[in-house]
């Protein structure tokens, strides 16, 4: 899966869940208050299911999850490191 494809899927999920159809890829949706308590876990489940990888305790860094760009970068790093069960 190429970089554009990964980001497209993440963007679609994030915009749908935040109800922000024009959310920019670099916008921090946590800081802007666009997300609710369910979103954090939904996001983890989405990333794991969509990209067949495992988000672990070592990945729990806000900078990995606070924007479309950040999540894309995390996914790309984990896929490059071997996908399933890989932690960055």
């Amino acid at each position: 899966m190429d970089q554009t494809n990964i980001k497209d899927k993440i963007r679609a999920f994030v915009r749908d869940k935040t109800k922000q159809p024009n959310l920019a890829d670099d916008e921090d949706f946590f800081q802007k208050g666009f997300v609710n308590s369910l979103f954090a876990m939904q996001l983890v489940l989405f990333v794991e299911k969509e990209f067949q990888l495992r988000v672990g305790d070592d990945d729990l860094v806000l900078e990995n999850f606070n924007s479309t760009n950040a999540i894309s970068a995390l996914v790309e790093r984990k896929l490059a490191a071997g996908g399933a069960d890989s932690q960055t």
């Binding site: 109800k19 609710n36 308590s37 369910l38 954090a40 876990m41 939904q42 996001l43 983890v44 489940l45 989405f46 794991e48 299911k49 672990g56 305790d57 729990l60 860094v61 806000l62």
Partner: protein, 372 residues
């Protein structure tokens, strides 16, 4: 909605276990304010305490539907006992989801066997639904957290020997494993409950209680959003299915009573206003079961939608359990309040379901925010 062969076999196994070891004695558990140790041992032997733990750690690794069927049957027998499966399972789920490999190897086999019982320590005397305002503090210094504060309403806290404790670490929240015998931790009973009377609720007091940094689950700052969040999600799954079991118990008891109780020359079941209550109970249970099945299917598929659907199922099921219990009392009349019938316990326990793992109002807010 059809169960697979293995799920049907498991359902029969759970039903038999509850009929033999739980339901006939549940009012006695309430009277004594505790569940017998032998029963907890049997839960471990049967693999029920390791329902959601992987086989590599000694668990039974039940799929979401089978785990739900277990909670349904136990909820039918005793909601106090259900609460053990809930909180113990929540900690196991958190460990499996966010624990380090070392933490998983250390604790999951013990949780699966029942050698260690776990409890979820989030609520405090002044903090319930507003979990982000926890006051218990955790100060990190040279590899050790020092805990100070009080946790309350910790189900099976009196019985547990491992607690998952949520504490404020500066402006952020951390989740820490704390063993029962840790110096600085004292455990006392909360014995004034009207519902879940055998759930052995406890108050935990931390006074300069030192815990090694290695007991931290995940990272500081993710204690609520991811650690508590995933635990509560699992808890809602269990409570939803357990509430279904309680509602079913209300219906079963009401049908039996309405068939044998004769008033005005005919059995209660032939009176239209009694039929109305029975019909509503039956219909609500069918609707609740459909919601529980749906969320379990999503959970089995690890679909992100499972979190919202789990909240919907828990919200609806706990509501209809309260209605079913209320109608069951109405059908039983004075007998519904008598210790000679389990209805009084169903009525007391049902309301608790609307409070634990997020109140109905919190669920309404969660649902509304995610559909608008």
């Amino acid at each position: 909605m059809e169960l697979e062969t293995a799920q049907l076999a498991a359902q029969d196994e759970f039903r038999l276990f509850v009929d033999r070891h739980v339901a006939p004695f549940a009012d006695d558990f309430d009277d004594r304010g505790q569940v017998p140790g032998e029963l907890i041992t049997a839960l471990g032997t049967g693999g029920y305490l390791g329902a959601n733990i992987a086989r590599e750690h000694g668990g039974r690794a039940m799929d979401a539907i089978t785990g739900g069927l277990l909670c349904e049957q136990v909820g039918r027998g005793s909601c106090s006992l259900l609460s053990l499966l809930v909180v113990h399972g929540m900690v196991a789920h958190v460990l499996a989801r966010w624990g380090s490999e070392v933490q998983q190897k250390q604790w999951l086999p013990k949780l699966a066997s029942g050698e260690t019982l776990a409890a979820f320590a989030l609520s405090e005397p002044e903090v319930g639904s507003d979990a982000g305002s926890v006051k218990t503090s955790a100060v990190l210094d040279q590899g050790w957290f020092t805990l100070n504060g009080t946790k309350k309403w910790t189900s099976f806290g009196l019985r547990a020997n491992l607690y998952l404790v949520f504490a404020r670490c500066g402006s952020r929240v951390a989740a820490l494993l704390v063993e029962r015998e840790t110096p600085g931790l004292s455990v006392s009973p909360v014995s004034t409950m009207s519902g879940f009377k055998a759930a052995q609720m406890a108050c935990l007091e931390f006074k300069d209680c030192r815990v090694p940094e290695s007991q931290l689950i995940g990272r500081v700052g993710f204690g609520l959003s991811h650690i508590a969040g995933s635990g509560l999600d699992y808890g809602r799954h269990c409570v939803g299915w357990g509430g279904l079991g309680l509602a079913q118990a209300c219906l079963d008891a009401s049908l039996a009573y309405a068939a044998r109780r004769v008033q005005f020359g005919k059995p209660l079941k032939e009176h239209p206003l009694i039929q109305e209550m029975l019909a509503n109970m039956f219909t609500n249970i069918k609707a609740a079961r459909a919601l529980c099945w749906q969320e379990a299917r999503l959970r089995h598929a690890a679909n992100p939608q499972m979190i919202l659907d789990g909240a919907v199922a828990k919200y609806f099921t706990s509501r209809i359990a309260v209605q079913a219990a209320s109608d069951a009392v109405q059908i039983h009349g004075a007998n519904g309040f008598s210790r000679d019938y389990p209805i009084q316990r169903y009525y007391r326990d049902a309301k608790v379901l609307e409070v634990i793992e997020g109140s109905s109002q919190i669920h309404q807010m969660m649902i509304a925010r995610n559909i608008s």
